[in-house]
Symmetry: C2
Subunit: 344 residues, 2 copies
Amino acid sequence: MEILQNDLLLRAARGERTERVPVWMMRQAGRILAEYRAVREKAGNFIKLATTPELAAEVTLQPVDLLGVDAAIIFSDILVVPEAMGLPYEMEEKRGPVFPQVVKTVADIEQLRVADPEEHLKYVLDAIKIVKQELNGRVPLIGFAGAPFTIFCYMVEGKGSKTFSVAKKALYADPQFSHALLQKITDSTIAYLKAQVAVGANLVQIFDSWAGILSPEQYRTFSLPYIKQICDALADSVPVTVFAKGAFFARQDIGQLNCSVVGLDWNMDAAESRQLIPTKTLQGNLDPCVLYADYAQIRTEVTKMLRSFGTHRYIANLGHGVYPDTDPDKVRCFIDTVKSYSSK
Amino acid sequence: MEILQNDLLLRAARGERTERVPVWMMRQAGRILAEYRAVREKAGNFIKLATTPELAAEVTLQPVDLLGVDAAIIFSDILVVPEAMGLPYEMEEKRGPVFPQVVKTVADIEQLRVADPEEHLKYVLDAIKIVKQELNGRVPLIGFAGAPFTIFCYMVEGKGSKTFSVAKKALYADPQFSHALLQKITDSTIAYLKAQVAVGANLVQIFDSWAGILSPEQYRTFSLPYIKQICDALADSVPVTVFAKGAFFARQDIGQLNCSVVGLDWNMDAAESRQLIPTKTLQGNLDPCVLYADYAQIRTEVTKMLRSFGTHRYIANLGHGVYPDTDPDKVRCFIDTVKSYSSK
């Protein structure tokens, strides 16, 4: 078994007591760091960066060295899964991801394959191998994938959207089509996450970024059952974190999944969430905008957060990805405050 | 006192028992109707349509005649208030509203005026007068304004945004600036809504469209106190509806405001909301995407909604504005199902 010098994240995920609260940040490997922007410049574009193992590994390691977080998270994108299934995407600088072709019919679904990670996502696995070697046990590595419903949104809508009304239309108008596509995404995701674990991911996080656009009933029908399959398939190997942004209404249900950690956004109250999810470790949930405030205010807000969650069964994080224009020194203030306050 | 032939909406708002559940739709006067698109074509653009009283009145009346809703809502835009304060905007076809200038400093706030509705929003008041004459007491007329926080978002950010991180940055970085601007917007909004009531609005709705991007604590600091001022200023004259999209965490607080009706989005469970807001009439909350389904499924979902809310202290609506590409016949199915089911 791998021995880690800093295993705070994994112990907190398993519900063990830790000397202090572990801390990392969603999107920590990214645009906030000048060092990241330099590597990205070298790569030419986002997709090139994500698909070149040496470069992806390099930016994965940066926040460990430069910010002092308690975990690395592999630099990648949730949309590599549809790409591996046979639906490629492009990343447009201002618009974000765009799929030139979308999935419209059952015949379109049949054209797609269940992703074979060794063949179609080898570049991610290779990046993980490099990261593990370079980390050399300093901190754990987090693997991740999008939740099937969130991936479904992009594959059907073809691009980002405030409402994803095209994707949601499919749920109401053609549930059979929707379930067939969701199952194929789920099968691909399970294979992908298992492959990440096989090459060294110590924990995996499922991002349901668009959970909040569904009604509670639709969430129970079209998202939760597929997240459940993933949790059940992975839980025996590594701790699983489920982060369903905006799904305040599903906290109780998520708390009953076969996962170790539940991620919260900043709308979700700590005490209320503890009550709804009594047996899991919670992760979150500072508003990323707090990092625009001055240092004193950041310390106040972080301390308030730590007080409300307590130091047990808790992983400090933001409630969403860090915003790209955040000052790295403010990020360090966030991280250092968690470390110093929670080790008291 | 004005006598209305159909006062279901007002009686339901006041908590009185009604023969059946009243129904209307957010954005009912708009792109779903071919008749609307024809008038808009004639006007040339959105802002011209909204600022020409005869045309605004015409499209306000269309859904009453064509869809059979139990209320008209004046056709306008929440951004007429910043415009009246001296901050004009443009409506770009694909991007939505854009403010060429934004509010950045206390000096910028001082440059703005408290809107004088008689002078700066006369076109809305004139449209209301025409609508009232044309309606001739058939159904009540709803007036509206944006909640101060939502207006603040646009005035500081300058355009729509997923995160409104520029506007939120101001809340954390400069609370004094933020409160000063929020107060000026509030003063303008109170004057504006009072003027709408003076010319015949029978109920006013406050739209806090971006409520969901705030943490519970920020919502209590930067949004609720200003909505409270508006409710307190209006409640003696007409029923007030507060619709704070995404602010599930604030339902209890909103339920204690001096308002008659609380609007809910489709994430918010009926039974839970009744428990959190026991003394108000509830309004909502069908997912607009349901109207993409077939007729049988629409009837099923609408019936389910009516069963969960009950027929007392309830106004049927969508959980957000109707999507522009919705088939008007599906809209009629929604409205007719509410009417027939709830009058049984």
